[in-house]
């Protein structure tokens, strides 16, 4: 099973949509709230080179934003 991390904030609409999408598809993921965890925010900036949320990391591959077609592709949905 793919390792999925979601860097998000609680208010960001695209974060909410991305997490709901994964849940609806039955994909387990680790949610990281970067508004509450400064270290995690730095980590997100390091892996993605930018500050926009959400950032998804699927088996080491970084997807910036709620990019449904890339998520589908990476997860074979």
């Amino acid at each position: 099973m793919a390792q999925v991390k979601v860097y998000s904030t609680p208010t960001c609409p695209y974060c909410i949509r991305a997490k709901k999408y994964l849940s609806d598809k039955g994909i387990a993921f680790e949610n990281i709230d970067v508004s509450a965890d400064e270290e995690a925010l730095k980590q997100m900036v390091d892996v993605s080179g930018q500050m926009g949320v959400p950032v998804l990391v699927v088996d080491g591959d970084v997807i910036v934003g709620f990019d449904q077609s890339r998520i589908d592709q990476k997860l074979g949905l």
């Binding site: 904030t9 609680p10 208010t11 960001c12 609409p13 695209y14 974060c15 909410i16 949509r17 709901k20 970067v34 508004s35 400064e38 925010l41 900036v45 080179g49 930018q50 500050m51 926009g52 949320v53 910036v64 990019d67 449904q68 077609s69």
Partner: protein, 301 residues
């Protein structure tokens, strides 16, 4: 050939698709996203039937309603151009596909307006944001600037004064606009410094934003900020149809039946000249437009 291609899946496009499905029109829905600007709205308190709902929740309701019908929805596909064919009909081209059709409904909405200053593009998502609701929490205890003076700028400033250490509100006008209630709250906050008569000149930084260069009533000033929220209004996504009449603001001119200047091309929602950019207005316009399309198709056949 399809009877209709609906472009955009915000309130106008989704409502249009629901009506088109119920009218048994042979159509496809093509959109770069689902929900449009509604998906980015924080709180919605004026959509009939919902005393309070968030933008994303309202979009989820729209989507559930839409998915009741067996429709063809190409989500994540941006329309790049509409081509008028000689004789009759159109080809709608996207970044992935093209669709021949008898009629088109443009419901492509609006996008945030950019400042157009050096550094803006370079630092986009690297400190420059067009959505305080989305990215605001990343600037906890930092200093940020909000550019703009209307309701959306006041809304961003109100959100940021609860998160950031300090908020500069950079307004090009001599006095703030927007609603009195919101303006008072912003003006009363010790965290907010309001700069009127202030022009934005450039955004600078290294990997991320470090400063916003401004001109305050003729005096150059450099604001040390790590975040910049641009809230200076929006611009219609009407570039895909350069052959239809548009007003000086770029909005597609429609009559009361949602017809554009080109026969067979209809438009609805925030991309049009219809006043009041509201979710419920856009939804209503989407419904009205498809009923017009339906009559048009019946006449043509």
């Amino acid at each position: 050939m399809q009877d209709l291609v609906i472009i955009g899946a915000g309130p106008a496009g989704i409502t249009a698709a629901i009506y088109a499905a119920r009218k048994n029109i042979d159509f496809v829905l093509v959109s770069k996203d689902l929900g449009g600007q509604t998906a980015l709205s924080a709180d919605v308190e004026n959509y009939t039937g919902y005393q309070f709902i968030t933008g994303p929740d309202l979009v989820a309701k729209f989507e559930a309603h839409l998915r009741q019908f067996a429709i063809t929805f190409h989500n994540g596909e941006a329309v790049t151009r509409i081509v008028q064919k000689v004789g009759s009909g159109f080809v709608v081209e996207s970044d992935k596909n093209s669709y021949a059709c008898r009629s088109v409904l443009i419901a492509s909405g609006r996008r945030p307006r950019w400042l157009g200053v050096p550094g803006e593009e370079q630092f986009r998502n690297k400190g420059v944001s067009y959505c305080a609701t989305c990215d605001g929490p990343l600037f906890s205890k930092k200093t940020v600037a909000v550019v703009g003076g209307g309701n959306s700028a006041l809304d961003a400033a109100l959100q940021m004064m609860n998160i950031a250490e300090k908020v500069y509100l950079v307004d090009i006008n001599p006095a703030l606009g927007g609603d009195e209630v919101m303006r008072r709250k912003v003006q009363a906050s010790p965290k907010v410094e309001i700069l009127n008569n202030t022009k934005t000149l450039a955004i600078t930084g290294e990997r991320f934003v470090k400063a916003l260069k401004v001109d305050v009533s003729g005096q150059a000033r450099e604001l040390a900020v790590s975040g910049i929220f641009v809230e200076i209004g929006s611009t219609p996504n009407s570039g895909i149809a350069d052959f239809v009449d548009r007003n000086t603001a770029g909005e597609i001119v429609v009559d009361c039946l949602n017809r554009t200047s080109a026969r067979g091309v209809f438009a609805a929602g925030d991309v049009t000249t219809v006043p009041e950019k509201q979710i419920i207005v856009a939804a209503g316009e989407g419904a009205k437009a498809v009923l017009g399309v339906s009559r048009y198709l019946a006449q043509e056949k």
